[in-house]
Point group: C2
Chain length 243, copies 2
Amino acid sequence: MNRFYVTPDVFEKEVVTISGDDYKHLSKVLRLKEGEVIEVLNNNGLKALGEIIQIGDDGADVKLLEREEVKTENPYHVSLFQSYPKGSKLETVCQKMTENGVNTIIPFYSKRSVVKPSRKEFKKIDRLKKVVKSAGEQSGRGIIPTVESPVDFKTVLSKLSDYDLVLVAYESETGQTLKKTLNSLKHKPERIAIIIGPEGGFDPIEIEALKQNGAEIVSLGKRILRTETAGMVLLSQLNFFYE
Amino acid sequence: MNRFYVTPDVFEKEVVTISGDDYKHLSKVLRLKEGEVIEVLNNNGLKALGEIIQIGDDGADVKLLEREEVKTENPYHVSLFQSYPKGSKLETVCQKMTENGVNTIIPFYSKRSVVKPSRKEFKKIDRLKKVVKSAGEQSGRGIIPTVESPVDFKTVLSKLSDYDLVLVAYESETGQTLKKTLNSLKHKPERIAIIIGPEGGFDPIEIEALKQNGAEIVSLGKRILRTETAGMVLLSQLNFFYE
């Protein structure tokens, strides 16, 4: 099923118009025709089947059928704080984390980050938003995750009080396993932050600062995971635990 | 720590020589010098720290220190049967599955496979072997996974009796969750097969054939995962369960 997002106010109409890039995708890439059925989502937890009733020169009119709730969202909010990785890895991260149910992605710079803050990295955010939207459509997300502009490590620390569970993936003998950490929680968390370090790992001073801000340091098993793999493994396992 | 694999017989010597592509990587890419320490693995469960004692024109001599067991392997053998995906996705699969502890990767062609068998796909196997070796070095694997040549769906079916647990990721209302499946097992499996369908999913006839060959059909949660994501999510969760 091909999925398209519209804004919540548009979703309230009987007939909605798919325009812009989505229109091009629908008409030129997917080559959908009048009479075909798509899924339309309001990016706020509702979806509806929609019949394409007219394809014009710059928009496609879609008649929405019965609305229903989307059941693909996790029962908790997950923010990923990802240390800015090299090359196109952040695109992989955005795509895979969206498939696994992340709500917000916040890239950040830490001491050993290979990539340093520059205008180029800020510009990339638009590209990442497109990756996230496309992954949201493909995986049937009810809400498209947001991608924020890169921040520094201090800003990450200042945001942690917004979460009732903060998990830092760290390769060391000292961190306990994710399973043990989750088993020891008294309440099911509602807002979870996942923090992933750069290619060279966190500096011990940073780990100390994270701990002082309430973070749980967890190990993800026996092997050393790449920075772009750690987040998706952690979130997959978290989802499995709370399933 | 930089890791290099040698064959088990070479590993028995006091001084081993790193040659070929590994030598180029050690001397030209990493620019390691005499006196520096690396980790040498025998690709059979043993490792040792090694001091570089001489860098020649076509090989580096490394003196091995105390041998010890590698503790990064899973307590079960995992084979991934991956329906041949488009583009470079199989490289991603090979890399991520190696990080997560897979032992063997077997690409196959099924009814809805987008990529059809051709000489090109067979040639790609050499490239995939390099990806797997590099991911093994990076993640500290004790044994480098093997990558087999693509097979047809019938061959996949004929191999399933080698496993005591066969898991097929399938998006449908009928499959029970992975968690429920694992909880219902009476014994901890020793040989596990993970089977992932193509971009368009398995044909219901294929699912029926898999079931008749003892496969468990499992759902991986609420969202639709891409073919290159499903295997790593399944293996991450399996590792978490048996941790």
